[in-house]
Chain length 223, copies 2
Amino acid sequence: MSTERGADPRARVGAAARQAEATKEAILQSVARIVSEEGADALTIDEVAKSAAVSKGGVLHHFPSKEALLLAAFAHNLDSFEDEVARLEREDPDTPGAYTRAYLRACVECFGPSRDDCLAFLHQFRSIPSTVRLVRSYKERWMHRVEQDGLNPAIANMVRYVGDGIWLASTAGETKPASFDEMVERLLRLAGAAESGGRQDTAGAAAMPKQGVQNDDLETDGR
Amino acid sequence: MSTERGADPRARVGAAARQAEATKEAILQSVARIVSEEGADALTIDEVAKSAAVSKGGVLHHFPSKEALLLAAFAHNLDSFEDEVARLEREDPDTPGAYTRAYLRACVECFGPSRDDCLAFLHQFRSIPSTVRLVRSYKERWMHRVEQDGLNPAIANMVRYVGDGIWLASTAGETKPASFDEMVERLLRLAGAAESGGRQDTAGAAAMPKQGVQNDDLETDGR
DNA sequence: TTGGACCGACCGACTGGACGGTTTGTTAGC
DNA sequence: GCTAACAAACCGTCCAGTCGGTCGGTCCAA
């Protein structure tokens, strides 16, 4: 879990600092809960404050604007998704396509109870440039990982699109169709057979660092 | 094209009525344009009115609320997508999977210039019940068509998820990855080979009528 | 055919509420 | 006592929806 938001230079400690960190976490969880249970339109700062048992000023203290709040929550969501993919990848033997299979399995989990974590931030894609950038960097990490995965990129892309489609369906309230499991099985088999185009060079693995919330343009803490 | 919005009982004629219909069409097109070019947040009634060269009162005259306007535009969008699928299906020999292949091809077109028509109405899914119902009826029509398609439902579902994923990627501003065409080819082949579970009975084809904008709960015209 | 009654299409100023953000205060840890 | 972590009242803007009104067709009786 990447709850520690990347080594703050002026690392603070103490009871107060820990309390503040807990408050931030509560705020982010409230955002996720509201969006998933009541829809994106219900996401107001006042509502977040009430849900997190903090005042409006408290929310604005940690996240200087609603945009910053959205961005942080979005990043938090993407991070935990990537953590989950990484966890699933570790459970799978190191054959070509391991990452892609883990990615698919993580997407499938969206239909379970953890669906509440799937934030419906789509509506912000176009209007918030920083969100667009965040999604782009997320996709670049994905491409980077796929490159090392030694799988036919056409298959990897297919899996990604299916994953996005599953996510979309789940946020729209759909339930699993009868043939769902068979479909997943088929895809896993596709991603399991080393169709490959030959393993690309694996040098520079993990060369692309995870960015998390740290964005150049939008500080999420203090001023 | 289903531009004729289902036989109005008290069928009016005359120049005024035609003008009114043209105005409604202009309003709906403005909604589509604004959402695709400026994002869902920029969609205000004032903006729609300005773009359609109509007054705010004029917009509200045809669509009694913003919700009704959104619903009508969404239905309009879904309708034209289904029209496109139907057109593509007619160009494909009548083998099992014809519908599914047409569906995929229609989704692929989202990456082209017609992407502007892909309304980003997702953000309304949860908050507007009538929209949820609309999407559900749309999916039921899809299921109905797939049933007649004589294809393995797992494949059909896979294609649908990929289509949704493509749509999602396009609204997020992504471009086609290098392996895109190969992926589509693979899927088309999957949907072309009659993996089947045997053709289901074809009786009652088109038994499920298209609903279009006519909803029980939300009139879009008059008062 | 014409004139008046009627109606739908459309206009635009106005209102009331919601909501993002600011400012000023208060408390507690270091 | 200085600063971070909040609280709470407050402000300004934006925006959906209302409402009184205008204008051009349409219809029908004389």
